[in-house]
Symmetry: C2
């Protein structure tokens, strides 16, 4: 059965009916995670998550076997991707390949929010 | 290797370096498709596409074995999901389960743009 999660937050995005989880990497007190599509929705083949990282926050320095598809929704961040740093902002689409080093650090005074697609956990 | 596709279209979204494809369903002259993450980016486990349907346009009435994850970026549409019609707008997240009937029809005068995640083609 299909599911609709309504955005109640306008340009800042909020899905009040989706549980807010503690982010387990980076400086965790400055980031939250919501699984928008995953096990709860019955999705067998991919997960879609939303992360929001406050100013001064960052994600963990990651390198793993699965890939990521990222779409920035709001705010800006410095992205370490492989060996290069680049600034990313709203609407930018990022593909992070398997095994590639990556980390986001919020830039500026606005929270950095992004969608992240991953394959399902084995 | 990772890839960044820059949004050059502000709130209306545009990724000039990504080829624009003809949409092959619905009333095709009123819709376009861009594959933001897929074979060209080397992604093995999911595809992320962007669709934009002009006012008066609609997607095909679909029912298939794979599922969809949809995030509305701009505009509004009437969504037929299973047996129910619902209006969806910016930021709404929709999970379309395998085998579920679905169709989008643009509502109002603004183009309806959305992201759509699918598993890779077998």
């Amino acid at each position: 059965m299909g599911v609709i999660h309504r955005n109640a937050g306008g340009a800042h995005f909020a899905w009040p009916e989706v549980p807010i989880q503690r982010y387990e990497g980076g400086n965790a007190d400055r980031a939250i995670k919501q699984v928008l599509i995953g096990r709860a929705e019955g999705a067998p083949s991919f997960n879609l998550r939303y992360f929001c990282v406050e100013p001064g926050g960052h994600s963990s320095l990651d390198r793993h076997a699965h890939d990521h598809g990222v779409v920035v929704l709001h705010g800006c961040a410095d992205l370490l991707l492989g060996e290069a740093h680049q600034t990313v902002g709203p609407g930018d689409v990022i593909y992070i390949a398997p095994g590639e080093i990556h980390q986001f650090r919020t830039v500026g005074g606005e929270p950095f929010g992004f969608l992240c697609v991953v394959p399902p956990r084995p």
